[in-house]
């Protein structure tokens, strides 16, 4: 049996496979298909300070091997999240990686503070910071495209959480130099990085000659973007090897549909892997990917998952 456990910033997870934020809601729906405590961690939908209705519809457009979404971070707000969703996950024995979001760096901090105060905080094995949000203070420019703004959010969130709870910052691939943003976040206190968020895309309905999505643009996800995720993970891991970025664990995400896809991200440098859009097509995808990955590592003669991390770098 391959040792699938992974140590991420102080917590040891039994396996490296997680849901991806926004692709699994907050657990109840997928728990009809598999036990949410079977996952390495359950990553919840990004939560903000206040309830959010999200955008109008259409919110989705299918693309070749993927989809565009323009949900607008619909959610119940952090108070309802800590009152209902987190205790529910905790009661199922899930290890939870809540994803937090905000329109200002202080909103991120206040969401983190409320989270810390939850009676179910013991189930939290880390906090993922979704910096692909428009920064109200900077003309709606997405935090993730600006190393300084990303660093500020990271530092403020880090300050609010106990030292033993790792902070993972989720990076956007829509930047000129992902290494610069990664470096800024790690230097500001990020204990790990999640890569990648969706790519900004757009589809036009040529029958009606207008944008397909009510929100006009949307986030592109699915197997079609996997090479972008592999590239981003590789580049940042390479920069860590070269000492340009302090070494922290990377959670790989982007287009993972099979165990083989997951192994690709692992080999590029990811210590853990999230399954996102594939869950829409197959609600069992996260546990299936975990099992396929374990079988694949076994076939290849690896004693443990950790031996395969960054293996393609040939070091």
């Amino acid at each position: 049996m391959v040792d699938m456990s992974v140590r991420l910033g102080g917590f040891t997870l039994p396996n490296p496979v997680m849901t991806a934020s926004g692709c699994a809601a907050n657990g109840k729906e997928l728990h009809r298909f598999f036990d949410v405590s079977e996952l390495g961690a359950f990553v919840t939908k990004s939560v903000q300070a206040q309830p959010r209705s999200g955008r109008g519809t259409p919110r989705m457009a299918e693309t070749p091997s993927g989809m565009l979404n323009s949900i607008g971070l619909q959610g119940p707000g952090i108070d309802a999240f800590v009152a209902e969703d987190l205790p529910w996950l905790a009661a199922r024995g899930a290890r939870v990686l809540p994803s937090i979001a905000g329109g200002s760096s202080t909103e991120f901090a206040s969401v983190a503070a409320t989270l810390r105060g939850s009676s179910a905080f013991g189930s939290v094995v880390g906090v993922e910071v979704n910096i692909s949000c428009p920064n109200v203070a900077n003309r709606g420019l997405v935090f993730a495209t600006d190393p300084l703004a990303s660093a500020k959010v990271t530092a403020l969130v880090r300050e609010q959480l106990p030292r033993e709870v790792p902070v993972f910052v989720k990076l956007s691939p829509d930047v000129t130099d992902i290494g610069a943003v990664a470096s800024a976040c790690v230097k500001a206190g990020a204990d790990g990085l999640t890569m990648i968020n969706t790519l900004l895309g757009m589809a036009i309905d040529v029958d009606r000659m207008r944008p397909q999505l009510a929100g006009i643009t949307g986030g592109l996800s699915g197997p079609g973007i996997r090479p972008v995720a592999v590239r981003a993970v590789w580049q940042v891991r390479q920069a860590m090897f070269e000492g340009r970025i302090p070494t922290v664990p990377i959670i790989g995400v982007g287009g993972v549909r099979t165990g083989r896809d997951a192994l690709e991200l692992v080999a590029a440098g990811a210590s853990a892997v999230q399954v996102g859009t594939a869950t829409f097509a197959d609600p069992l995808a996260p546990v299936r990917v975990r099992d396929e990955l374990a079988a694949l590592l076994e076939d290849k003669g690896y004693a443990g998952l950790s031996d395969a991390v960054a293996a393609a770098h040939g070091r």
Partner: protein, 315 residues
């Protein structure tokens, strides 16, 4: 997979590889019969299935959702599920081209079924196009409870009607309308529904079809003091409640409007709970008074080229 308290109030749901045992053309549609005992047994009228399309190498990742036309829990082949498909894109064309013995990956039954009245009251069932698919099965169940059942079927033209013969068999009376007058009365179902309600004293109106039709059906039911239960057709990416794309604005028991998922909170809604005025021209806007609505909610659709004012009360 059993539902624990997590799934309380939610029916059992199964994923299975179903065999196509029959496929036949019905007017403009294709009627498929699938062997799917795990879905057939717990299914109720109004629920739907999500079918994977395109096979293993498909670039169409997302499932297509279809209202269940009929189930036979204990047939010659084991439990079967029947669906009616309109070939409008690559996914549905793939489904309609399947030959007997082909395999289809099915998830279901999904969503909330049509609620049935406790007393034997007169009911009117209204179907637009192949939206009528689940109504015959519903009619049979209503009549078993002593309800009288009238059906109104409408479509653009004769080939786009579905189930007229079956309606005559399963109901106490049938009225047919077509836009072009190719069969039945020329006009819309909303033209004849008031007369049918007055004649039958219908207390519950069940509807399934395009949004504009459901909006009109709901308004007419309310005007006649009848309850309306309508199954909406919203585009879905997952069908199981995790993607947040199939939302619509509905009024909850607390009187507040929220963007709710038609796959888990629906697809059946009480007609007077849906904010129909938010729908226009293929878009649905977030009502400004919805919980968590952004200040610029209405502006989203305007920027996308949608109307700034809603027309409501369409056909």
């Amino acid at each position: 997979m059993t539902a624990d308290e997590a799934g309380a109030g939610r029916a059992r749901v199964t994923t299975e590889l179903a065999e196509v045992i029959a496929t036949r053309r019905v007017g403009a549609y294709q009627h498929l019969t699938l062997v799917a005992p795990g879905v057939a047994e717990p299914a109720r009228p109004g629920q739907f299935v999500a079918l994977a399309v395109g096979g293993e190498a498909s670039a169409n990742l997302l499932r297509r959702c279809f209202s269940i036309h009929k189930v036979t829990p204990t047939g010659t082949y084991g439990g079967t599920v029947e669906v009616v498909v309109s070939a409008v894109g690559p996914g549905t064309r793939w489904l309609t081209s399947l030959q007997p013995h082909a395999a289809v990956d099915v998830v279901g039954p999904l969503g909330r079924p049509f609620p049935l009245p406790k007393e034997p009251v007169p009911c009117v069932l209204v179907g637009g196009g192949y939206g009528s698919a689940p109504l015959f099965w519903l009619a049979t169940q209503l009549r078993e409870r002593g309800c009288s059942v009238e059906m109104v079927l409408g479509a653009a033209s004769e080939d786009r009607l579905f189930g007229v013969v079956e309606a005559r068999r399963s109901c106490d009376g049938v009225t047919v309308t077509t836009d072009d007058g190719s069969v039945g009365l020329r006009g819309w179902v909303s033209d004849v529904l008031p007369g049918v309600l007055e004649r039958t004293g219908g207390r519950v109106v069940y509807g399934c079809g395009p949004m504009a039709m459901l909006s009109a059906v709901s308004a007419i039911a309310t005007a006649h003091g009848a309850v309306s239960q309508v199954a909406v057709e919203e585009s879905m990416a997952c069908g199981v409640g995790v993607c947040m794309t199939c939302v619509l604005p509905a009024i909850g028991a607390d009187g507040a409007t929220r963007m709710v998922r038609s796959c888990v909170e629906g697809p059946v809604f009480r007609g007077d709970r849906v904010r129909w005025e938010a729908f226009a021209d293929g878009y649905c806007q977030v009502p400004p008074d919805a919980v968590g609505a952004p200040a610029g909610a209405a502006a989203d659709a305007r920027r996308a080229g949608g109307p700034s004012t809603t027309t409501g009360g369409a056909p």
